[in-house]
């Protein structure tokens, strides 16, 4: 049995109690989880008009991320643009994060993404409104699809890729912050801070879409990318989320939250719970748990707003009805 098959076989029955007691698979033994217990902050934001920078700064007090004198790369979710749908991380939240990290002493803040469908990044920046934010904040945008690239062995081998081409901007960053939109996803169940990392994979090697990753298994690819890149922080834009046929064609949910954590798995687990989804039933999250990352509520220290006050059931496609918590 291969490592991948072993992991797959064991993951299907993963629960809090068994995960804590069961001997770890070989892949999990090779992988050093970020933390046993993770802190996750839920912030309330009724709209993007609020002082989000100050809100993020308050939230950061719950976390140990030190960005002083560091190069911070913010990786929003920038996929496609349709005026009527909330597809991308809101530009005003990106602006707030830029301001927040500058105020916390970052030496440099860069915004970077490698859009997965659209080769015309200039157009995407323009129509999405992110371009205006970058201009007014005087922040550099790096198109990760055409950045310098280096081949890196994957930290885990859930796919058979063995190696990933990764962009220089990500590899040389001191701090990578995944900033996804809180959405359902028609192939992966949910797309949050871990799935958002598909955007660091360069299109120049993997195409538009990055179809290599689909053929190697979406859940497995998410894990191999996340464990190899190991971002430092997640800020999930759930002020407006997307339900139903996400990540592009769903409906807007006015969920009014921002979720933050230095542990991406824990951030995504909390966001999934806020969406009325059991994170243990999301394949890539259950893989992360198998690798030792905190998914169960007992391993997540919830800070800020109470989860149950903001939990609302995001509409799921019929194929994902089993994810309901």
């Amino acid at each position: 049995m291969t490592r991948r098959h072993f992991l797959k076989a064991t993951v299907s029955a993963a629960t809090l109690s068994t995960a804590a007691c069961r001997p770890l698979s070989r892949a999990a033994r090779d992988y050093n989880p970020l933390s046993l217990v993770a802190r996750v902050t839920i912030l309330h934001a009724s709209s993007y008009d609020k002082n989000l920078s100050e809100l993020l700064r308050q939230g950061m007090k719950n976390h140990r991320l030190d960005v002083r004198n560091k190069r911070v790369v913010l990786k929003p979710n920038l996929v496609e643009y349709t005026a009527s749908r909330r597809i991308n991380t809101h530009p005003l939240l990106v602006a707030a994060a830029i301001d927040c990290f500058r105020n916390l002493g970052a030496r440099e803040v860069i915004v970077a993404d490698g859009p997965g469908h659209q080769r015309d990044t200039e157009m995407l920046l323009e129509v999405s409104g992110l371009g205006d934010v970058l201009w007014s904040e005087r922040v550099q945008f790096v198109d990760l699809n055409i950045d310098n690239i280096y081949r890196v062995p994957t930290a885990t081998q859930l796919t058979t890729l063995q190696e990933l081409w990764l962009p220089e901007t990500i590899l040389t960053a001191d701090v990578v912050v995944s900033m996804p939109k809180m959405k359902t996803h028609h192939w992966a169940g949910v797309t949050l801070s871990l799935k958002n990392l598909f955007g660091v994979i360069p299109g120049v090697c993997y195409g538009w879409p990055k179809n290599v990753l689909h053929w190697h298994g979406i859940a497995e690819s998410i894990v191999d990318i996340a464990t190899t890149v190991r971002p430092s922080f997640a800020i999930i834009d759930g002020i407006e989320g997307m339900e139903g046929n996400g990540p592009l064609h769903g409906e807007t949910v006015n969920s009014q939250v921002i979720v933050m954590s230095e542990n991406l798995t824990a951030a995504d687990a909390t966001a999934a719970r806020l969406m009325g989804i059991d994170p243990q039933r999301v394949t890539h999250l259950s893989y992360m748990q198998e690798l030792g990352e905190p998914l169960a509520e007992l391993r997540i220290r919830q800070l800020g707003e109470r989860l149950e006050d903001y939990r609302r059931e995001f509409r799921l496609l019929a194929e994902f009805a089993h994810l309901r918590g």
Partner: protein, 296 residues
């Protein structure tokens, strides 16, 4: 015309100065070389000074990044085969009459590789013909609109319009066209949702379908979509490809060229990006020298 010539000259000067020591061109100055900007820069500079030395160095780049039994690669090994880069290199080297032996290898690769079959269930859900296997961006993936268009342009411009792979490629593009005209990156529908076309993929697909009747419904709708979309968008990539495509289909391009010229930077580039600048220069050449490298 003199303004156009002046702006074209400055674009070409910018491009000529960006050739890396390995003979290739990067997307952005002082970065590593990639096949796509190398191909378009070479094509844009086809008539520029120092042609022989420039092309010899570029040929060294292609040779150094090719594996003997196969194709162009990203890292000179068989595990990093660059499918779409090989197609662009084939098109470029044939056009410039460079590296015949190398190019034969590229052609063999181009005719050998195919996108994966799409399972019947998925084909039905996506409302597409999953039996059509054309070209993907990378090895071992499905077929996609843009790399298929590159392959058709490369093969048809070499007089291979009757080749069975070309015929299959044309059938693929016609199958994947959006209902209202134009092309998305691959599908026209996903899980019951009709997808919207994109200007850049539409431009390449239309270039690839030259030879078909312009009155054919798919072509007519797609040209109409592209012309409409380009009144709304003014990015360099969309404008440059729009000019090249509409010129090939004998449509007016003056307004698009004006918009494109208006976005040129003082250093002669478009956004300091070699790929964009080369395509913009190729677009300007449709007016200055009445040359359209994608027209066949």
């Amino acid at each position: 015309m003199s303004r156009l010539q002046d702006q074209l000259s400055r674009a070409l000067e910018f491009l000529a100065a960006q050739q890396n020591a390995d003979g290739g061109w990067p997307y952005l100055p002082k970065k590593r070389s990639f096949p796509e900007p190398t191909c378009y820069a070479l094509l844009a500079l086809e008539q520029a000074a120092a042609k022989v030395a420039r092309e010899e160095r570029a040929l060294a780049y292609f040779t150094g990044h090719s594996v003997p039994a196969s194709a162009l690669t990203l890292a000179a090994d068989a595990s990093s085969v660059d499918n779409w880069g090989t197609t662009l290199a084939f098109f470029t080297l044939r056009r410039l009459k460079l590296g015949e032996e190398l190019n034969q290898r590229y052609l063999r690769h181009l005719l050998r590789v195919r996108g994966n079959l799409i399972a019947p269930g998925a084909s039905a859900a996506l409302k597409l013909n999953g039996q059509l296997r054309t070209w993907g961006w990378a090895m071992g993936t499905a077929s996609w609109v843009e790399p298929t268009a590159y392959a058709l342009i490369a093969l048809k411009s070499q007089g291979m319009s009757a080749h069975e792979r070309v015929k299959e490629g044309e059938a693929y593009l016609l199958d994947r066209a959006c209902y209202g005209g134009g092309w998305n990156y691959g599908n026209k529908e996903v899980l019951g949702v009709v997808l919207e076309p994109m200007p850049t993929t539409t431009a390449f697909a239309l270039l690839a379908l030259q030879g078909l009747e312009s009155g054919q419904e798919v072509i007519a709708r797609s040209l109409a979509y592209l012309e409409r979309a380009l009144t709304e968008h003014s990015s360099a990539l969309s404008l440059a490809l729009g000019v090249l495509c509409l010129d090939a289909w004998a449509r007016p391009t003056e307004r698009l060229l004006d918009k494109l010229l208006g976005r040129q930077q003082a250093d002669g580039s478009w956004l300091s990006n070699i790929h964009l600048t080369a395509l913009a220069a190729l677009a300007l050449q449709t007016r200055v020298s009445r040359k359209n490298i994608f027209k066949f």
